[in-house]
Point group: C2
Chain length 350, copies 2
C-alpha cells in the first residue's frame, strides 16, 4: 500500500496525493474529495519511514534504552505521560546492544535514529556520552558527559546517606554495604559514597570487610551475602545498593536462619518489584523514576521548541520508604523520627 497505489486508483499523480495528505494548497476540492475517498477505501497511511527520510521533522521523539527492565519500564511510563497531550508520538528503541562495534550503544542508536525518524532523544543510563548529535538529546542517569548534555538524575549520594543514616538511627553500628563493581554506572559508587559519608558523620569507621561488590549474576550476589553473614562478627544491618541484591540479601539471610528484621535489618534501593517481595516487606530508598522520565521528555520538548530548558541538570531527591525489614537494634535508641518519610504499607495515595 503505497502512495502510488492511491494515485493510480484516484487517477492522479503521486504529487497530488501528497498535497492532499499534507493539506497543501492548490488542489481542486473535487480532487481532494476523490483522493480522500480512495485513501479511506484503501486504508492507506503514509509510511513514517519514507516521510521522515524526506522531511526532517517527524513529530516523533525517541527514548533509547539498552533494554526494557523494571527501571526503564518505569521511566517509560513517565515519558509517555509527558507526551500525552502534546502532538508528539513516542518511539522506544531497545537495541539490546546489537549490531556490533564498540563505540557504545548510545552513539550507535543515536546515529541510527536521529536526523531521521526522531526529532530528539532521551537516552536512558548511557555510559559514554560525548554525543554530538544533530538533534537535541537529554540523558537520564548518565555515567559521564554531564557537561555536554542536559541530564536528569536522582540523588544517589543522598540516597546512600539516607539509607545508612536510617540504620544508624536505629542503633546499628556494623552495617554492611553490598554494591556492584564500580565500572559502568556512576550511581553505584555514589550510593557507596553516601554510605561512607553517613558512617563518617556518625564517627563509625568503615570496616572494609563489610563492603562488598557483586556482579550482575544472582549467584554472585548470593555468595557475597553469604560471605557477609558468615563473618565472625557479622553485620546487624545491610544496605543493599540495588534491587536485585536487596531481595537476595533477605532471601539468603532467611535461608541462613536469620530473622529479618529481628537478626538483620535490610534496606534496599530502587524500584524493587513488589511481585518479588518477600516477607517482611523491604525498606527501600526510592527514586522518582517515572518523574525522571517525565522531566526528561519535558526538557526535550522545550529544546525542540527552540527554548533553553530552565535547568540543564536536574537532580531529583530520593526518599526513604520504611517497611518491616528494619528494626531498632536491641539496646539502641528507639525508632528515629520519620516525619519526612512515608510509612508503608499505610501509605495514602498521592
Amino acid at each position: 500500500m503505497t502512495i502510488r497505489h492511491v494515485a493510480e486508483r484516484a487517477g492522479v499523480s503521486v504529487a497530488t496525493v501528497s498535497k492532499v495528505l499534507n493539506d497543501r494548497y492548490g488542489v481542486a476540492a473535487a480532487t481532494v474529495d476523490r483522493v480522500r475517498e480512495v485513501i479511506e477505501e484503501l486504508g492507506y497511511e503514509s509510511s513514517l519511514v519514507a516521510r521522515s527520510l524526506r522531511n526532517h521533522r517527524t513529530n516523533v521523539i525517541g527514548v533509547l534504552v539498552w533494554d526494557i527492565e523494571p527501571f526503564s519500564a518505569e521511566l517509560l511510563k513517565g515519558a509517555a505521560g509527558a507526551i500525552r497531550g502534546t502532538d508528539y508520538e513516542l518511539v522506544v528503541y531497545a537495541g539490546g546492544g546489537k549490531g556490533s562495534g564498540r563505540l557504545g550503544w548510545e552513539r550507535r542508536y543515536l546515529s541510527r535514529l536521529s536526523g531521521t525518524l526522531i526529532d530528539g532523544a532521551v537516552m536512558v543510563t548511557p555510559t559514554v556520552l560525548d554525543v554530538d548529535s544533530g538533534s537535541p538529546v537529554v540523558a537520564v542517569d548518565p555515567h559521564s558527559g554531564r557537561e555536554t548534555v542536559p541530564t536528569v538524575d536522582a540523588d544517589n549520594l543522598q540516597g546512600g546517606r539516607i539509607a545508612t543514616d536510617h540504620l544508624i538511627g536505629l542503633g546499628h553500628r556494623r552495617i554492611g554495604f553490598l554494591g556492584r563493581p564500580p565500572r559502568d554506572l556512576e550511581s553505584g559508587p555514589l550510593r557507596e559514597a553516601g554510605y561512607r559519608a553517613a558512617l563518617a558523620d556518625a564517627g563509625i569507621p568503615v570496616d572494609p570487610q563489610l563492603v562488598r561488590a557483586a556482579g550482575y549474576d544472582e549467584s554472585d550476589v548470593r555468595n557475597a551475602v553469604h560471605d557477609l553473614l558468615s563473618l565472625p562478627e557479622r553485620p546487624t544491618a545491610i544496605f543493599a545498593a540495588n534491587d536485585v541484591s536487596a531481595i537476595s540479601t533477605m532471601e539468603v539471610a532467611m535461608a541462613m536462619g536469620l530473622r529479618v528484621p529481628g537478626d538483620l535489618s535490610v534496606i534496599g534501593f530502587d524500584n524493587v518489584p513488589e511481585s518479588m517481595m518477600t516477607e517482611p516487606a523491604l525498606t527501600t530508598v526510592e527514586q522518582p523514576i517515572q518523574l525522571m522520565g517525565r522531566l526528561a521528555v519535558e526538557m526535550l520538548l522545550e529544546m525542540l521548541a527552540g527554548r533553553e530548558p530552565a535547568q540543564r541538570h536536574v537532580r531529583l531527591p530520593t526518599r526513604l520508604v520504611t517497611r518491616a525489614s528494619c528494626a531498632p537494634l536491641p539496646g539502641g535508641p528507639g525508632l528515629p523520627d520519620l516525619a519526612d518519610d512515608a510509612r508503608l504499607p499505610v501509605q495514602p495515595r498521592s
Copy 2:
C-alpha cells in the same frame, strides 16, 4: 553523518562503503580497512530509516501500543525478554491516537510502520483488527478479529469466576460488581460474565443494583462505589474488575468509615501498581502480563522464521493472589482452601 561523508573521507564511492558495511564481496582488504577506520573515526552508523526503505528486512520487531501505562509497560518487559538473545531489535511505537482518521489506531500504526521499519508487529489491545498487513502480526488481548490474526490473551472469563468464587467461598452473598461500560474492550464483559456465572453456579441471583459500570474518569468510579455502598442493603464484598476501580473502591469504603476487609471485602483485577496500594493490601486476580508479551513475541518470531506458530490462539490462565483485603463473612464458613493460590506477601520468588 551520512554514508557520503564516510565515502568522501575514505576517498571511495558510497557503493564501496555500503559493501563494507554489509560485508559484501569484492572489496580489497586494504580498502575495507581504510573504510572501517573512517567509520570508527566518525562514529558513523547507517540510518535505520534509509536502510529499511531500501531493504525490506530490518531485523526490528515493533510493539504497537496506544499508550504506555501499567499494563502495556508490563507487557513490554516480557516482550523485551523474548527478544533478548535473538538478533532482533525492539521498537515500541506509542502513537497515542494521534494523526486523525477514524480507521482505528491499529491499522494506522501498522500502515505507517510495517513493510518499512519493522518486520512484524505485536499489537496491544487492539479494538478493530481486520488487518491485512503485509507483515506478520500478533494481537494481544484483542477485542475482535480473533479469527484472522494470531492472538495471545488471558482468561478473563475464568478470572471473573475465580474472583467471585473466592468471595462466595468466604460466605459472601451480596457481592457487587464494578466494571466499565462495555463498548471497547472485550475483557470487561468477560469478567462480568465470569461473575454472573459464578453466582449462577452458587444459586445466587444477580441483583442488578449491585452491578455497576463506571467510565475511565476516577470521580466517576468513586461515585459508582459510593452508590453501591450507600444501598439500603449494601454489598459485603465487591469485585472491582479493573485496577483503577479496585483502588478507588478501597479508598471510598474507608472514607465512608467502613473497614476493609472487616466490613467490606474487596477483590481487584490486573496488575494493580503496588505503589498505589493502600492498607490493607489488595486481593487480586492476576494476569500473566509479562508472559503474554513474551509469548506474543515468540509467536511473531516463529512467523518471521517462516514457520506456523504451534497454536494460533493462546489463552493464559489467570490466578488469584490473596492478600489482606478479603475476609470470611461472619457466620459464614471459614477460609476456603487456597491450595492453588499464592498467598502474599509471603510469596517465595519463582
